[in-house]
């Protein structure tokens, strides 16, 4: 398992060609859909929640874009943003990778957590960002999820987690694996407290994250087309697994097999969350 989900999905040359053709477009005006190659006007794309109007491809979102699409305007207040990873194993090149991830993603870590309101209902919102080291789960991500849940319990707020991860962060070794137990144990606490825990699987939600807090929500929503599953393609190949069906580990596959409640298009997501919160929210809302 661990961190392989997003590797090898497109060949190096395919990535290069895609990059070159996007580079050839005027800066910041247009984006090319990686699925259908349609040239999309950026303003239109934003209006469409970064979903391709032609083929319905859901672009991966930055955490802040996700928050803007999800939380009531101006309601998000981040906390635990001072947490930084150490290099507990003294793993080769890890510090450089962190520095590079920060520079390229503009994020300090692979997940942000904070308080917000959705349709005026208070929540704790955790949002992963795949652009920082593949959204991988290390000590900081684990701690942020747990602190998010602890605050949710303290203030009687529902907890909503948007997942996007290739799995546990290899560079933190066995301590990264322990985050699976740590976060799942915290989820037990939120269930004990009788508070709603809603999970959204975005592209990709795999490996250590999928096999821990991502799979034990009260309601699990998937975004259309998202890759969702336990073992990445390369891990499965090494284990000798062949004949993977064409839509294997995609959102509709997981829906067919009963592993998610809903596959919800992005433009309807906030409304769906609102509806679910309203259903679960009776006691919670009166607590505010």
């Amino acid at each position: 398992m661990a961190t392989t989900g997003w590797f090898g999905r497109r060949s190096k040359s395919a990535r290069k060609i895609a990059r070159q053709s996007v580079d050839a477009l005027p800066d910041g005006l247009w984006t090319k859909c990686p699925k259908c190659n349609e040239i999309l006007f950026n303003k239109e794309l934003e209006k469409n929640f970064r979903v391709c109007g032609k083929c319905n491809y859901h672009f991966r979102l930055k955490a802040m874009e996700r928050i803007a699409f999800t939380a009531d305007e101006g309601s998000f207040e981040e906390f635990a943003d001072d947490l930084r990873t150490t290099n507990p194993l003294d793993f080769p090149e890890y510090n450089a990778k962190i520095a590079k991830g920060r520079a390229s993603s503009g994020m300090d870590e692979s997940l942000v957590v904070g308080t917000a309101t959705i349709d005026c209902m208070p929540v704790v919102l955790a949002v992963a960002d795949f652009s920082f080291m593949g959204g991988s789960m290390g000590g900081v991500l684990g701690e942020k999820i747990v602190r998010g849940i602890e605050l949710a319990i303290e203030e009687r707020r529902p907890f909503i987690a948007f997942c996007a991860s290739g799995g546990a962060r290899m560079q933190e070794g066995i301590l990264a694996l322990m985050q699976m137990a740590k976060t799942s144990a915290a989820v037990a606490k939120i269930h004990e407290a009788g508070l709603p825990y809603i999970v959204v699987h975005t592209d990709p939600t795999t490996a250590g994250v999928h096999a821990s807090f991502a799979s034990i929500g009260d309601v699990i929503i998937a975004e259309p087309g998202a890759l969702i599953g336990f073992a990445g393609e390369r891990v499965a190949q090494q284990a000798g697994v062949i004949n993977r069906p064409p839509n294997f580990q995609r959102a509709d596959f997981q829906l067919d097999h009963g592993m998610v409640d809903l596959v919800t298009p992005r433009r309807e997501l906030k409304q769906t969350l609102g509806k679910l919160l309203d259903f679960c929210h009776r006691e919670v809302a009166s607590g505010r």
């Binding site: 398992m1 070794g173 322990m178 985050q179 137990a181 090494q238 294997f248």
Partner: protein, 331 residues
Amino acid sequence: MAASSNLNILDFEKPIQELDAQINAIRELADEKDEDPSAEIARLEEMRDKIMAQIFSSLTPWDKTLLARHPKRPYTLDLVRLMFEDYSELHGDRLFADDHAMVGGIGVIGGHQVVWVGQQKGRDLKDRQYRNFGSAKPEGYRKALRLMKLAEKFGRPIVCFVDTPAADCSVGSEERGISEAIARNLMEMSTLKVPVIVALIGEGGSGGAIGIAVGNRLLMLEHGIYSVIPPEGCAAILWRDPTRGADAAAALKITAKDALGLGVIDEIVPEPLGGAHRNVDETARTLKAAILRNLHELQGISGEALAEERYAKFRNMGSFFSEPELEEMES
């Protein structure tokens, strides 16, 4: 020993195996000639043990990986047979199937009635396939949880034996929710109101391992490994070269000593000189003593307190710091 297939001998074990063969040959010859070879044998055994001590004092993390996967290493059922005064296997997850890669049941160890569960590898080719190489499927994790709930209902402690390369990642396992099965075990194990003792006896392979390893006490055999990813897989991702498993094994800090240093396990259980497979009886005796000592220590603690202690243990795992703190430290 001399007749055993070379596949069962690791490279660094070869000098030991050669002396073993020599000792056996002298014994056989002496039987024929009716001589007393004990002096010669004692000399060779002393030499062998000296070499063995030397080899085993400088094992690399990769050597330990190979030892943890040693084809002669004692597996869960071997140890259960030797450690338990009495045991019965119980089968099935009540949902889909009985997973032969995950075994479990009830048993008596040192007079304690317990539930035991663990991954089971196979010894020969046919048996290995039957046991799916120790890679459990969703039904295996669900069976394990069902048995753990049985223990909780009747107030019995739980002993888990971890020995798996990874959880099964076939299409069928994905279809039946391998992730959900592991995640649910992690969540439910954190709330169990009875003592949970985990013994890592061989390979502790990532999510497949931790899926039955949320315990109050974690014991690890000296030459076991516990890793977030197999070293070869890590090498394939990091350096695009799966043959650099040895480098990855060192970088990933997967040995029992590392796990203890990182606060992931509580205790290292020493193995006999030459590794668990050289003296399975002794391995079982030492492990049994460690399990019983921990069981005694946890006896009399309330169920609530046990669950809280277990929660706190995993709550505190992980490494991070607060950036402002660092700035203060520097100024």
